[in-house]
């Protein structure tokens, strides 16, 4: 077979591939066609006396131009992942954000801490299960004690040692459920009562000038 005849067959084949790759980017299309041409050239170099039927066999093994174009349109199966440079930028942004957030939090804490420390002690304590076991929780200069009336009823006693006063009218608004279990002493000096499920019963109780001893029955 003459070189011209082979060239014509190969040129026709690659032209058809190029035409069907019209929707692909120029770089992709040229890379694909370059690969196919290299593939055919390798085969021709190995068999300089290749016949027409043998050349057509090589093209058949490559596949039809339509099949190649269809393969080019198939989306990638391998997942895209972020490049290292993007990960580096993300890490820097997160680091700067963390520094700013910690700075703001420190500033807020410093501005609030002196008043709380002066009036109520620092840090505030929570009447949790451990406190219930000892029946005593200290909060600043005040102490709280409690005792169980039954498995479902509790007495909560606030004992005056020294410090501000809690208006018991606030506690009269408590629902009559046997679930007055946890006293939360907030960082801002307020007291919050919740039941065993963490549901708020009373919020933002503001202590005033002195404490009194009082019993609350659940």
């Amino acid at each position: 077979m003459s070189d011209d005849a082979r060239d014509e067959i190969v040129t026709d084949y690659l032209s058809e591939v190029t035409r069907l790759l019209g929707d692909e980017s120029d770089s992709d299309a040229s890379e694909i066609v370059e690969g196919l041409r290299s593939h055919i050239d390798d085969a021709l170099r190995e068999r300089p006396d290749m016949s027409v039927s043998e050349l057509l066999g090589v093209l058949r093994s490559l596949g039809s131009p339509a099949a190649i174009a269809e393969s080019a349109r198939t989306p990638s199966r391998a997942p895209r992942t972020r490049s290292n440079s993007r990960l580096l930028v993300a890490a820097i942004v997160i680091g700067v954000a963390a520094l700013v957030a910690s700075g703001v939090a420190t500033a807020v804490a410093v501005s609030n801490a002196p008043a709380v420390k002066h009036h109520h002690g620092w840090p505030p304590q929570v009447w949790d299960l451990k406190g219930r076991a000892t029946n005593d929780v200290r909060y600043g200069s005040a102490s709280f004690s409690s005792s169980a009336v039954s498995a479902t009823k509790w007495q909560l006693e606030l004992r005056l040692v020294a410090g501000p006063y809690v208006h018991w009218e606030d506690f009269d608004a408590l629902p009559k459920e046997p679930a007055l279990e946890i006293v939360w002493l907030n960082n801002d000096g307020t007291i919050e009562l919740t039941n065993a499920r963490g549901m708020p019963i009373l919020r933002d109780v503001q202590p005033s000038k002195r404490w009194v001893t009082k019993t609350v029955r659940g």
Binding site: E31, I32, E34, D41, I68, E70, T74, S83
Partner: protein, 116 residues
Amino acid sequence: MWRMEDQGGSEIAQFRRGVIEYCVLALLRDGPKYAVEIVRQLGQADGLVQSEGTVYPLLARLRRTGHVTSYTQESPTGPTRRYYRITAQGAQSLHDFTLRWKRFTVAVDTVLEGAQ
């Protein structure tokens, strides 16, 4: 029955398309290869590639998505060849796929062998 066989062939074709990119990445695991070499090695694996020419668009796609890079190099026996090299991203994808693939094949084998 013929429909069942036809559907089975179609399923295999879909399956092949799903794994062929990872097979290319696996061939590049030990070092760069030029395109024709990759295509021929894939072609030697029975049933993996129906048309060798369809691998070239796949190589271009892997390069575009950052799983491989390519470069050209003069060949001592012929024209310039395009070589492909796996990237860190491609190696990570291959690693993840290999783990999933092993679990998947074990599960399928268990079911298929149990059904016999």
